[in-house]
Symmetry: C2
Subunit: 199 residues, 2 copies
DNA sequence: CATGTATATCAACAATCGTTGACTTTATGA
DNA sequence: TCATAAAGTCAACGATTGTTGATATACATG
């Protein structure tokens, strides 16, 4: 038997592979990451990837599994919804638990599997979160718009690395994106009957 | 000799290849598009792709060449900057000339070449456009934020195809994203000295 | 028609990919 | 100790990739 702390040998390499996969998928996306690279990074054999995870696609799905953690947020004043959301999103992205988010964003543009997971995560996690703050019929639209903004910022700052976006401090992003999220969440929607409301 | 209308035979297949490349790159991204697929779609031989364009990468670069066309926009009232920008961006994306934009967005997440082109285009086209409306020192930051929002919307609506985003009418998007762009362009930036300005 | 050039075709290359199955090594338990 | 199962190694497979060079066809010009 092994100490309760230590894992079984097989589970350790299993974890090593999963970790390596997370790193490489997040770095290079699904297509440009090879099973051989993952195995090398994990100090294991490519065959073990198949043995333990069933194949590259299945490993990717596991690597892309994560949560936005919105349900853990304490109740928020409506006027600070945007800032809180922006700050939380930055925390998730830059924190340890980010794992799956960069993985997905790197691959969602060219991989339908990743795109579907992305739709699912943002559809099923952002929308319920807005339940408290918005009328039910507006939620899907607002959730999608908010998700798009957050993904756009992540794309610009972490993937494309647009220099001015990288240079911004956390405080600046929270402030500006916070205001913007408020607009997206509570701004007027121009219906087909209504007039456009400017400024 | 050929009519001045018709192109030389070689230029016709050259164009066919370029068109096919645009379609497939925009549909599947760089990695998942093969030279053989492009040639098949164009009704040509894979070897011709190399002959006429020098290789897959060079063909991709040509396919991804495009302009946002911001310099052609007439002068805009400051209060309508966001709406105009949003509308124009939708036009570009859905118009014939969009070509390079979907191509880039599909590949920029996992292809450094595409990412660099994206940085260049948005850096060199959005920033100058804002010259008239914003103080010089704020332009790079605002341009990057605006670009991120636009890319996020494009990602959500055209790539991920988030259902609520796809369902929105042009008018609704212009209105909501317009307001949001106004916020991004003219909202307060919380400096390290200044206070955060909410609502 | 004959000749030379432009254009297109074809087969094949070397490399890389995910995956497989047989094999060896290591650990476990009676 | 010895038999059994777990864990890991290895070589190879079939498929696909971008690219190449030799060869064939079409076309213009003399």
């Amino acid at each position: 038997m092994q100490e309760p702390q230590k894992l079984k040998k097989s589970d350790r390499t299993r974890l090593a592979i999963l970790t390596a996969a997370g790193t490489l998928f997040a770095q290079n996306g699904f297509d440009r990451t090879t099973v051989r690279d993952i195995a090398a990074e994990a100090g294991a054999d490519p065959a073990l990837v198949v043995r333990y995870f069933g194949g590259k696609e299945a490993l990717f799905v596991q690597s892309a599994d994560f949560s936005l953690g919105l349900e853990a947020l304490p109740p928020i004043a409506t006027s600070e919804l945007g800032q809180t959301l922006a700050g939380h999103f930055l925390d998730v992205w830059e924190g340890e638990r980010a794992g799956g988010l960069p993985v997905l964003l790197r691959s969602a543009s060219s991989n339908e599997l990743a795109a579907e997971r992305m739709r699912e995560i943002f559809g099923k996690q952002v929308a319920p979160f807005l339940r408290t703050y918005l009328p039910a019929d507006q939620i899907p639209t607002r959730a999608a718009l908010i998700s798009s903004l957050l993904l756009g910022v992540a794309l610009g700052r972490y993937i494309l690395k647009l220099p001015p976006l990288v240079a911004l401090t956390r405080q600046q992003i929270v402030s500006l994106i916070g205001q913007t999220l408020q607009t997206l969440a509570f701004g007027d929607i121009a219906g087909d009957k209504g007039e456009t409301a400017v400024s």
